[in-house]
């Protein structure tokens, strides 16, 4: 009998230890979300581009020896009745050179609406080297009914960009924001 009670106590002990694995698994399941964000930012996984401004006052040496073509694309996602496209399809820049270009958005709908633009860069690794000084994606954008708005973006491509990358595509997806118009 005492042997049986022993086994029973051992069983409970082991079950509790196994429960720790379960809890660790659960914690990991949720921790993947912030971990993934951190990894994406650190290594440019998934072409995740910055949505915060890069300091423009720092001195960047312009690499005149090579050129990079930057292509601009844009899409609006379902639920947002806007026309949205780049004013220039592409520009050619030297790495380190600060450039200004713009997108145009038109609200085709009957009422004011708030949208937010999510940038993404291809090839993915280039996301780390694509620096935006000024961008409409840093803030939400409100367009009145029928409003046409030119939205600037000021950027440079870091001279550290790997040499084999000659073309970088910047893509914006415009989503309808849940925010109400003020």
């Amino acid at each position: 009998m005492s042997e049986k009670e022993n086994t029973s106590a051992n069983n409970k002990n082991l079950a509790v230890k196994l429960l720790i694995i379960v809890i660790a698994g659960l914690a990991f399941g949720f921790a993947i979300a912030p971990l993934y964000d951190a990894v994406c930012k650190a290594i440019g996984l998934n072409g995740r581009a910055d949505t915060t401004a890069t300091d423009s006052t720092q001195n960047i040496a312009v690499d005149e020896s090579r050129e990079v073509t930057v292509i601009f694309t844009g899409t609006t996602m379902p639920g947002l009745d806007w026309s949205f496209a780049a004013n220039e399809n592409s520009v050619t820049v030297h790495p380190g050179e600060i450039k200004l270009t713009s997108y145009q958005a038109i609200n085709n709908g009957p009422e004011a609406i708030v949208g937010s633009a999510v940038p993404s860069v291809t090839p993915e690794v280039a996301a780390l080297y694509f620096k935006k000084i000024e961008c409409f994606c840093f803030n939400k954008q409100t367009l009145r009914a029928g409003e046409v708005k030119d939205m600037p973006i000021r950027f440079f491509v870091s001279p550290d960009l790997p040499k084999d990358i000659k073309t970088v595509t910047l893509s914006y997806a415009f989503y309808k924001s849940n925010d109400k118009v003020e």
Partner: protein, 525 residues
């Protein structure tokens, strides 16, 4: 040990009628419940698959709205995985592990009862989601956002809730099984003397408790995205739909091995019996199983090659995936070496096992093909993938289950099944299976996408063949039901050990196995 329940039974007998099953804490009864449950789910999900195949019999839309077609593929996958294959293996674990390691029951018989009865509300939620307004989930069993977040149907929430419940059931069941195996083996039964089925289940149970909680995390984030305004997977709110795929497949790939490792254990039990030789390379089988389990946590992104990934990542996942073929190859060679120069006979369980070795290997090879990065990008989401995973899941998992049912039916029922009908069932299943799924390799290579209710005319012949095979395959399973029911009702009396070459403690108890076995543990030499 289950002192309280055991003495309770001895003193008062056990409940009869329906309460015998509802309140059961007996591993054999609960095992039986699991097996019947999985059989009905298998037939139900199979009927859904026949709906899919009926629609694909000819090009064009005949029977199903595209949305309903998608619901069928989604529920077919979810129910087959979580309702049929996994519970069937748990049923075997319940029935056989205590008998194989010489103990009277699982470590926590009441939790065992709970694990089973949690399956029932989950199944009701899954099946019931078909009938609610908005209909069942239609975004595939993988539930990728944004579709699964945008679909407002209550059916999606019911499926998510069902998976949560099934996850709890699996985790509780796994803790029970690990505890039983580690703490309650008969004296002398060292770890390296355990039958291989016990080993594969021990490792599977660890995979379950490590991966199921991760799925719970993904499902919870999906639910909060749907209802509570979070944006884990919503790009508009700063989230990322690809994140879901990472979390899901971090669970999903171990899940694939959860569905095949116990099958390996079953095959490794049956083949030595009918080859009349001990299993070749027992220790290497154990290590190979552990190696597959460990590797299963570092290959998940091979399901996501086309989502965009740095080349270094793609190469890592390609090579780690290919690496899995090494321990798997060890197993296949061990089975072949076990049969080599054995005194083989070909009873139904052995026929199923040999077919599993042969057909699973085909599925393994098509898996290797898919692991090759540039090939995968071409074949992603085509019928080649459908062919691949049905060769591992049907002719690997499901057919090993069928073989094992025949193998242990005499022990469970005390009667021999009808060998002629068993063989008919085997040949019909194997031939129909290949007619159904082999052509999918060709349609997939030619570019036919999966999860679409219509297709280009050039695929018409192969799809017609697949559909004919699928209906033959489905109808053949009614024969399986008939053979099993007939065997339960009667038949030639089975000896304690009806197989000449079978080894193991389960054959030392009478057939049918008495309600209580190994109350005093046997001693293993």
């Amino acid at each position: 040990m289950s002192t309280t329940t055991a003495t309770h039974h001895d003193d008062h007998g056990h409940p009869t009628g329906i309460m015998r099953w509802v309140a059961s804490t007996n591993h054999k009864d609960i095992g039986t419940l699991y097996l019947w449950f999985s059989f009905f789910m298998f037939m139900f999900a199979g009927a859904l698959a026949l709906g899919i195949r009926a629609e694909l019999f000819q090009p064009g839309l005949q029977f199903l709205e595209p949305e309903n077609f998608n619901r069928l593929t989604t529920l077919h996958g979810l129910i087959m995985i979580f309702g049929a294959i996994m519970p069937a293996f748990v049923g075997f674990a319940n029935w056989m592990i205590p008998l194989m390691i010489g103990t009277s029951d699982l470590a926590f018989p009441r939790l065992n009862n709970m694990s089973f009865w949690l399956m029932v509300p989950a199944a009701i939620l899954l099946v019931g989601s078909i009938f609610v307004p908005g209909g069942a989930m239609a975004g595939g069993w993988t539930m990728y956002p944004p579709l699964s977040v945008q679909n407002p149907s209550m059916g999606v929430d019911m499926s998510i809730l069902a998976l949560h419940i099934l996850g709890v059931s699996s985790i509780v069941g796994s803790i029970n099984i690990i505890t039983t195996i580690l703490n309650m083996r008969a004296p002398g039964m060292t770890l390296m003397k355990m039958p291989l089925f016990v080993w594969t289940w021990l490792i599977t149970a660890f995979l379950l408790i490590a991966s199921m909680p991760v799925l719970a995390g993904a499902l919870t984030m999906l639910l909060t995205d749907r209802h509570f305004g979070t944006a884990f997977f919503d790009a508009a709110g700063g989230g990322d739909p690809v994140l879901f795929q990472h979390v899901f497949w971090f669970f999903g790939h171990p899940e694939v091995y959860i569905m095949i490792l116990p099958a390996f254990g079953l095959i490794s039990t049956i083949i030595p019996t009918f080859a009349r030789k001990p299993l070749f390379g027992y220790a290497s089988m154990v290590y190979a199983t552990a190696a597959i389990a460990l590797l299963s946590f570092v290959v998940w992104a091979h399901h996501m090659f086309t989502t965009g990934m740095p080349v270094a990542g793609q190469l890592f996942f390609m090579y780690s995936t290919m690496l899995i073929s090494i321990p798997t190859g060890v197993k296949v060679f061990n089975w072949v070496a076990t049969m080599w120069r054995g005194s083989m006979t070909f009873e139904t369980p052995m026929l199923f096992s040999i077919a599993v070795v042969f057909l699973f290997t085909i599925g393994g090879f098509s898996g290797l093909v898919l692991a090759v990065l540039p090939v995968d990008i071409q074949l992603q989401d085509t019928y080649y993938v459908v062919a691949h995973f049905h060769y591992v899941l049907f002719s690997g998992a499901a057919m090993s289950i069928m073989g094992a049912v025949y193998y242990w039916l005499p022990k469970w029922t005390g009667h021999m099944y009808n060998e002629t009908l068993g063989k008919w069932h085997f040949w019909l299943t194997t031939i129909a299976f290949n007619i159904t799924f082999f052509p999918m390799h060709f349609t997939g290579l030619a570019g036919m996408p999966r999860r679409i209710p219509d297709y280009a005319l050039q695929f018409a012949e192969f799809n017609m063949i697949s559909t004919i095979g699928a209906f033959a395959l489905g109808i053949s399973q009614l024969l399986f039901l008939y053979v099993v029911v007939k065997c339960i009702k009667g038949g030639p009396k089975a000896a304690a050990n009806p197989w000449e070459g079978a080894e193991g403690l389960e054959w030392t108890v009478p057939s049918p196995a008495p309600f209580h076995t190994f109350e005093t543990p046997p001693t293993v030499k």
